[in-house]
């Protein structure tokens, strides 16, 4: 190792690259990998000063470099402005920012054919990173040839033990003696601190089996009957098999099709969408490289819907703002406040033990143990006796799906009648209470919304609701609505907007922001250091896209990079992708982050002057299995509107097999990246406050990519190269260079050197001393002070009075009567300015449908996989018998039912059953459980395995995609949100007869 360093140091100390031939040959002599690199190209290079006063000519031939002084003909020219620049070249190449600046100012110019220039430039960067790239001088040596690396997953960071380029184990991260001491919360006479380690989810610990999954796509593939120059056989997508092709052929087809489609059909003819949550990292994940690549092309993008928190985005936001978080609320210091000052927690549609909040592994589990240790009163409101309820205990109340708003409104009714709410706070800090009171007490419609009123709707005894309302008001109560805060399956029901609205209305009646009254259930808002600057994956990475990622508020001043913007404005609403393709028409509302009112704007597809999209470039996780009425996607792929479908995939998941060309991507265990545990940034700012620790890590390239798979970065770079975009895409930097550049932009270098981080793999940010912890969420609002919690949002224009004062509402107060909704449409019966209960279009009130399909199915986020990530793929997750069950050699998805409903259908545990309605038919394994009351059935969403037994899109699926059954109708009319937990089904014993599913189109709005 020492000799490598010496070679590099000699080159640097020399202060000039005009002796480059000697140092390159010297490195090649000791580093075989570098020798390989030298062998890749035969090329001549002229390095010189602009005035031709100095020059060195280099010839690279068969891995040997020869050089001579002087100016000669060459393939590539590297021109330095003057001797000073040339003498600084070592600095320039070691500091990528210097390099970019020199290139931008023209003081360093690279001329020549792309491939040769690119190779030479990359070679110089590799030369300076030789000890890492060629000698793998990183990771912790564990003895016996084992090295321990670190990487990130969406279920927590992990140690990765590798021997001989093979992963032998994946474990949670445990700290060593040099890592800091934990924070302590003193509450009710006791002290609480988290253990000195990180946790992981089962799907994080199953990663080895996913890396080595037999379902990995290891080579570029072409559908056997897809001929880009002839018959394309669209109708056979999902049916015909694949043949292996070379990377060269794959890149040729894809790049030629990109050019053809754009030339023939105009900008926007390429459509790109990502399924999220399949890998981790701030450089290589979807809001970084993918964004930059498609910005380089200009492509029709997908208009996203916040599919885990629809109700808050389209409902609650109008009462209290929070558009930057799509209607989510701030979490700061709520863990400490809850433990110190609250005596009761209401978990309402909140199961962090299953959903990990989001990304946060099992970090919250120890805090839920503290709830028990503190003896707090706990209620769980959910149609399913969820994992959090099973662990924490307390009382379980099970309203029927999509009726939660009725129960919540009845609670408000009790408080209003009994005067048990914070009247002073309501008078001073809220707006329009009387309007809501009129509705709740029945002054407007003659129907008081009492506990007795809600009983036939929700199925919850009036006595229980009244007692709950009284106890809630008697205690200082925290409301955890959703697994993090402001998420929740109840917000994914028909008019789930009204549930989310009811949640914020109830909580603000009790004085949110006063000690002991706030949002959360100890999952979010730990006392960690929020000043230490390290952004999350949604903050843009190297996308350069300052508008459509968090880069504009987070990264721009720290990691300057050439900007990128998508010049193509056409969008397709995610929930209407199939209709956009099949009917060439789609419309929805469009959720913006900048303002509350932006969600009233519409996405119209096609955009004016546009032809329909012709190329679908899919990347990441599967839409089939995660999107409602998933069969629509299978039907879409098989129509002729799409001339080419490319899927850049790690695994052969449900959706991959509908592509014409499959590009094999590697996992983030096989490439470089950098990230932080559960830190998304962007739409969930400071999501790391779900953790007990801030753990920032390098994501080592633990093993070489399997087969011929490449990192997403390298795939995009390879296509960019074909289109002459190589520097535009990456600024000439490799993935490793970007990771280093990112590291240097953050606060990390102040605390840990690059080489130490490379070795140890992670850095734990010490928690701040107790007296420097963040102010309590909303306390500034309760006390009418300027907002003092550590975030830059809302934007200045979203404060209507003094900047920094009040909520993001027109009045600056909490608005029981939402003025934004009133201004938009005061008579929108689907979403009135006040929160009301609106019966579901697909529930017990939908008489005809309910008679036909009398079981209400909920399909919450899965516990043992992260959407499709972790499921299927022959992974170890399949062996979890709460996830799938093997019957006759096939792993079936689990469907849960109350024994009474089963008895009525003569079904028993272990039966294979067909769950069906007009939208689909899915074969599942029947589990009987008292975790659901009779009449309600449960199955997790997001099977990764779509396995139609007949024609794809038109037949029974035995993979377990219960999203084949869910409605595609929007949560409320003027929205773009899903309502999958309002779903009526019937169940019968599977008789082996494949059902035919007709053509599907989106349910009206």
């Amino acid at each position: 190792m020492r000799d490598i360093r010496e070679v590099i140091n000699k080159a640097i100390l020399g202060g000039t690259l005009f002796a480059l031939d000697k140092v390159l040959n010297a490195l090649a002599a000791v580093a075989p990998g570098f020798k390989e690199e030298l062998r890749k190209k035969n090329v001549t290079v002229q390095m010189k000063l602009r005035d031709n006063s100095h020059g060195q000519w280099l010839e690279f031939r068969d891995g040997v470099v020869t050089g001579k002084m002087g100016i000669y003909e060459a393939d590539v020219e590297m021109i330095f402005e003057n001797l000073e620049v040339a003498n600084n070249v070592a600095t320039i190449f070691r500091d990528q920012m210097e390099f970019v600046n020199a290139a931008k100012t023209g003081s360093l110019v690279l001329n020549g054919p792309d491939d040769a220039a690119m190779w030479f430039s990359a070679l110089l960067l590799k030369f300076f990173a030789a000890d890492v790239l060629y000698y793998k001088n990183y990771g912790a040596k564990m003895g016996s040839g084992v090295t321990r690396y670190v990487t990130g997953t969406n279920g927590g960071p992990v140690f990765v033990y590798v021997k001989n380029d093979k992963i032998i184990r994946v474990t949670p991260v445990e700290f060593d003696k040099d890592d800091p001491a934990p924070w302590t919360i003193t509450a009710k006479g006791r002290k609480f601190s988290p253990p000195r380690r990180m946790t992981a989810t089962p799907y994080a610990l199953g990663w080895k089996s996913m890396v080595y999954s037999p379902n990995r796509v290891l080579y570029p593939m072409k559908r056997v009957d897809f001929d880009p120059n002839g018959e394309r056989n669209y109708q056979n997508r999902g049916i015909s098999g694949y043949e292996r092709i070379s990377w060269e052929e794959a890149l040729d087809i894809v790049s030629r099709e990109i050019v053809r489609v754009r030339r023939e059909h105009g900008p926007g003819a390429i459509f790109h969408s990502s399924g999220s949550h399949h890998t981790w990292g701030n450089i290589g994940y979807y809001l970084s490289g993918t964004k930059r690549f498609f910005d380089c092309l200009g492509a029709t993008n997908v208009a996203l819907n916040p599919d885990s928190w629809e109700g808050f985005a389209w409902g609650a936001m109008h009462h209290y703002g929070g558009s930057a978080r799509y209607g989510g609320c701030e979490p700061y210091s709520t863990v400490e406040d809850c433990m110190q000052n609250a005596t009761m927690i209401v978990f309402w549609s909140s199961d962090p033990e299953s959903t990990a909040g989001v990304y946060a592994a099992q970090e919250g589990t120890v805090r839920r143990q503290w709830i028990k240790d503190l003896g707090m009163k706990v209620v769980h409101i959910d149609p399913y006796y969820n994992a959090t309820a099973a662990f924490v205990g307390g009382r379980w109340i099970a309203p029927r799906p999509a009726t939660d708003a009725a129960m919540a409104i009845a609670i408000a009714n009790v408080w209003m009648n009994e005067g048990t709410y914070d009247k002073d706070y309501v008078a001073k800090r809220t707006f329009g209470f009387d309007k809501w009171e009129d509705y709740v007490l029945g002054r407007t419609d003659g129907v008081p919304k009492t506990p007795e009123w809600q009983e036939p709707i929700t199925g919850v005894p009036a006595r229980t609701v009244r007692a709950l309302a009284q106890e809630w008001a008697r205690n200082k109560t925290y409301l955890a609505c959703g697994g993090i805060t402001s998420f929740g399956s109840a917000g994914r029901t028909a008019y789930g907007t009204e549930w989310a609205r009811a949640m914020v209305c109830l909580n603000f009646m009790q004085g949110v922001g006063k000690p002991g009254t706030n949002f959360g259930g100890l999952q979010y808002g730990t006392p960690l250091d929020t000043r230490f600057w390290f952004p999350g994956y949604a903050d843009g990475g190297f996308s350069g896209d300052y508008m459509s990622t968090g880069a504009g508020v987070s990264l721009y001043n720290r990691m300057p990079q050439s900007p990128a913007v998508n010049s193509e404005t056409q969008l397709i609403p995610r929930l209407r992708i199939p209709e956009a393709i099949m009917d060439k028409k789609a419309e929805s509302n469009h959720l913006g982050v900048y303002s509350v009112a932006s969600q009233f704007s519409k996405v119209q597809y096609p955009a004016p002057g546009h032809e329909p999209v012709k190329m679908y470039y899919k990347y990441g996780g599967s839409h089939i299995g995660t999107q409602p009425a998933s069969n629509r996607f299978a039907q879409m792929y098989r129509c002729d509107s799409l001339e080419i479908v490319v899927n850049q995939a790690i695994w052969m998941e449900g959706e991959t097999k509908f592509a014409d060309i499959i590009l094999p991507a590697c996992t983030n265990f096989e490439r470089w990246d950098i990230g932080e545990a559960s830190s998304s940034g962007g739409y969930i700012e400071k999501a790391y406050l779900q953790n007990n620790w801030r753990v920032i890590f390098i994501q080592h390239k633990c093993i070489e990519p399997l087969g011929e798979s490449k990192s997403d970065f390298e795939i995009f770079q390879a296509i960019a190269n074909k289109l002459g975009l190589w520097q535009v895409f990456s600024e000439g930097n490799s993935e490793y260079d970007w990771v280093k550049r990112y590291f240097e932009a953050t606060d990390l270098p102040k605390k840990i050197s690059w080489h130490k981080l490379l070795k140890k793999g992670y850095y734990v940010v010490p928690p701040l001393p107790e007296d420097r912890r963040d102010p309590l969420a909303f306390n500034w609002f309760a006390e009418d002070r300027k907002k003092d919690t550590p975030e830059l949002t809302p934007l200045p224009s979203e404060f209507y009075g003094q900047y920094g004062y009040g909520l993001q509402t027109p009045s600056g107060k909490f608005e029981f009567e939402a003025q934004t909704l009133k201004r938009f449409d005061a008579n929108d019966k689907d979403r009135l300015p006040i929160c009301t209960y609106i019966p579901s279009w697909e529930g017990r009130e939908a008489k005809d449908l309910y008679e036909k399909y009398p079981l209400q199915m909920i399909s919450p986020h899965a516990k043992y996989s992260f959407h499709t990530m972790g499921d299927g793929k022959d992974s170890n997750i399949n062996d979890i018998e709460e996830h799938r069950i093997k019957v006759d050699g096939y792993y079936y998805w689990i469907f849960r039912m109350n024994p009474r409903d089963a008895a009525a259908r003569k079904l028993k545990r272990g039966d294979l059953v067909e769950v069906f309605n007009d939208r689909g038919s899915v074969v599942c394994y029947l589990e009987l459980t008292e975790r659901v009351p009779a009449g309600i059935v449960h199955s997790y969403e997001s099977s990764a395995n779509y396995d139609p037994l007949g024609e794809p899109g038109h037949s029974t699926d035995r993979g377990g995609c219960v999203n084949n059954l869910t409605p595609s109708r929007f949560i409320t009319k003027n929205a773009h949100g899903l309502a999958v937990n309002s779903c009526l089904v019937e169940v019968r014993k599977w008789d082996g007869k494949v059902k035919y599913i007709g053509d599907l189109r989106a349910d009206s709005y």
Binding site: A390, F391, R931
Partner: protein, 281 residues
């Protein structure tokens, strides 16, 4: 000499199955001679949490009972197949990789089903307590290391201390017998006992109201077993009752109301006796 033991706490288990995932991660595709050959990819589970439910909605109780080799001091497998089983001085019970090969009868040597047959390699296998790691300096086996709040925890102590700890913390054997397991269970009542749940209410001018100030008492053969105030929903739950233990009397009383009495015969299930309506004096 100190021995390795595992405590399984049912009240700390969240049913995440990290233990199973970690076990598979360690043993699938990894050979650890001479401790064990590799595990089959799917068909073996050397550790497995099993869901157990009591009661019925909405008085449901769910827990997980994690089953693994009990590393018995008086190991039945060692008696049944003396040559093939090693009891190490540190308490870990291992199967001899060579003698377990081609010996499917070994599976029957464990009455608790902890020994499994690897059809691929034709060898009997089971949990090794990750002895290859413990011998290499690890402080915990993989299943324990992966457990979020150590519902599984290791105790490295003498036989005497293990017995003392078991008494102090009421650690129980999962299986009856004289095998003296080095894996014991805390809060096992969630698995092997029953509860009786119910609610108290009264009529408040036409409105059924939770009797949140009521007290509930459970008696057997006229002897009071437990008394408690009902919770904020006016509901009660008497737990840790042996299954099939006969008839119990539940009494509910609240000042100003007549005592309500109900008899329940306890079978294998945990019943919810519903609402007991209190009448005014």
């Amino acid at each position: 000499m100190n021995k390795w033991h595992i405590v399984v706490d049912l009240e700390k288990c969240v049913g995440c199955y990290n233990c199973l995932m970690a076990c598979k991660d360690e043993f699938v595709d990894n050979d650890w001679p001479p401790y064990t050959r590799k595990q089959q990819k799917h068909d073996d589970k050397w550790i497995n949490p099993v869901r157990h439910e009591r009661g019925c909605a909405p008085r449901t109780d769910v827990c997980f009972v994690t089953k693994l080799c009990q590393h018995c001091e008086n190991a039945p497998c060692a008696k049944a197949a003396p040559g093939a089983v090693t009891k190490r001085p540190d308490g870990v019970v291992l199967l001899d990789v060579y003698k377990a090969k081609g010996n499917p009868d070994l599976v029957k040597a464990c009455p608790f089903g902890a020994i499994q047959w690897n059809e691929e390699l034709k060898v009997a296998q089971k949990c090794t307590m990750c002895a290859h790691l413990l011998d290499g300096g690890w402080q915990e086996p993989r299943c324990v290391q992966a457990c979020p709040i150590r519902a599984l925890s290791v105790v490295n102590c003498s036989d005497e201390d293990w017995e003392a700890l078991s008494n102090r913390e009421n650690l129980e054997s999962l299986y009856p017998g004289s095998h003296r397991p080095k894996v014991r269970y805390k809060n096992l009542y969630r698995y092997n006992k029953c509860f009786i749940a119910g609610a108290a209410a009264y009529d408040d001018h036409g409105t059924e109201t939770a009797a949140t100030n009521a007290r509930a008492t459970i008696k057997k053969d006229g002897v009071m077993l437990e008394t408690m105030y009902v919770d904020f929903l006016g509901e009660f739950k008497f737990d840790k009752l042996p299954p099939d233990s006969g008839v119990y009397t539940i009494e509910v009383d609240m000042p100003g109301f007549k005592k309500a009495v109900q008899e329940v015969e306890l079978g294998k299930d945990s019943p919810d006796i519903g609402v007991m309506m209190l009448e005014r004096d």
